[in-house]
């Protein structure tokens, strides 16, 4: 184990800004990207559903 305390862990031996700046941005992008990708699918699904409903109403 490298760290005596949580404070030591977050300080990263004085490199905290650089280490957490790297891992933080990486984490944010890797959380946001899948959300955007699945939202893109739910957007197109919503408009497809609307279209299919409109078709159904037309044929009635």
């Amino acid at each position: 184990m490298n760290w005596g305390s949580p404070a030591e862990f977050f300080a990263m031996g004085g490199y905290g800004l650089y280490v957490w700046g790297s891992f933080g941005v990486c984490a944010v992008l890797m959380i946001v990207e899948p959300i955007l990708a699945s939202r893109r699918r739910s957007d197109i699904l919503r408009s497809l559903r609307r279209e299919s409903l409109a078709d159904k109403l037309d044929s009635q």
Binding site: Y18, L29, M30, A37, R41, I44
Partner: protein, 250 residues
């Protein structure tokens, strides 16, 4: 026998059969991402010892190297799909290339970003115009150019063709990035891991990096499959099979 196999593969090359297959594969790739990421992060922060020269700052390589590898690898896969689309005119190929580009761009960005955050404390500069950094920046611009070019052309098939040509021309940049540290005198260090000789780093660090690289790889597949499903629906919106999907009829 072999004929059947060919038919089998071409079957999955159609958007109609790939769409449900991709849907089934996505949870597995998320699972694999977690399987590699958790021990990868554990090693990165708790097992790998402090570097005697770079202190704790070196821990950035646990994401820098995987991101840089993926940025190059995704480009090669994207260009392969684009080239297949150009040669065989298969519908799915262009969609796969389009689905990979944003993930590749993010990996290229992350390699530059984490590289800058490592460079500042270690070299004293966020950025230098050396061959490795410059060619990695060009890779990022190639991704952006590919995305922008495709977005600028309304007709999807023509957009695929134009994008494919850009992607294929840009492939020349990938070996330039890879060999830049050998060909030129760069500030960037040489490869820590190569196919031809033993790695020049401690085993625990190497394991951490490989696990993180596998996690990034599985992540890239999961997110690209999610995106390709959206693209398939967008492009095949007016086909019968899409109208017959349970998630559309409901």
């Amino acid at each position: 026998m072999s004929n059947n196999k060919i038919i089998h593969w071409f079957k999955f090359a159609s958007p109609q059969s790939f769409y449900p297959l991709a849907g089934k594969m996505i949870p597995w790739f998320w699972g694999l991402t977690a399987v590699f990421l958790i021990p990868g992060l554990w090693i990165s922060f708790f097992v790998a010892p402090t570097d005697f020269q770079q202190g704790e700052g070196y821990r950035i390589i646990f994401i820098h190297v995987p991101a840089a590898w993926m940025s190059m690898f995704i480009y090669l896969v994207m260009a392969t799909w684009a080239g297949l689309g150009l040669a065989l005119n298969t519908r799915l190929s262009g969609m796969m290339a389009q689905a990979l580009a944003p993930t590749g761009a993010i990996m290229a960005f992350l390699s530059l970003w984490t590289g800058a955050l490592w460079g500042k404390p270690m070299w004293g500069a966020w950025w230098v115009w050396d061959a490795r950094l410059t060619s990695a920046l060009i890779l990022f611009f190639l991704y952006i150019g590919f995305i922008a070019l495709q977005a600028a052309i309304d007709d999807a098939r023509r957009a695929d063709k134009a994008g494919a040509i850009l992607a294929l021309v840009g492939v020349v940049n990938v070996p330039i990035i890879y060999f830049s540290v050998k060909w030129w005198n760069t500030l960037h260090q040489g490869a820590s891991v190569s196919l031809t000789k033993a790695p020049t780093m401690a085993t625990t660090m190497l394991w951490g990096m490989l696990l993180m690289a596998l996690a990034f790889w599985m992540y890239s597949i999961a997110v690209a499959l999610t995106r390709v499903r959206a693209i398939i629906l967008e492009r095949e919106a007016h086909t019968e099979w899409v109208k017959e999907l349970d998630e559309v009829k409901a």
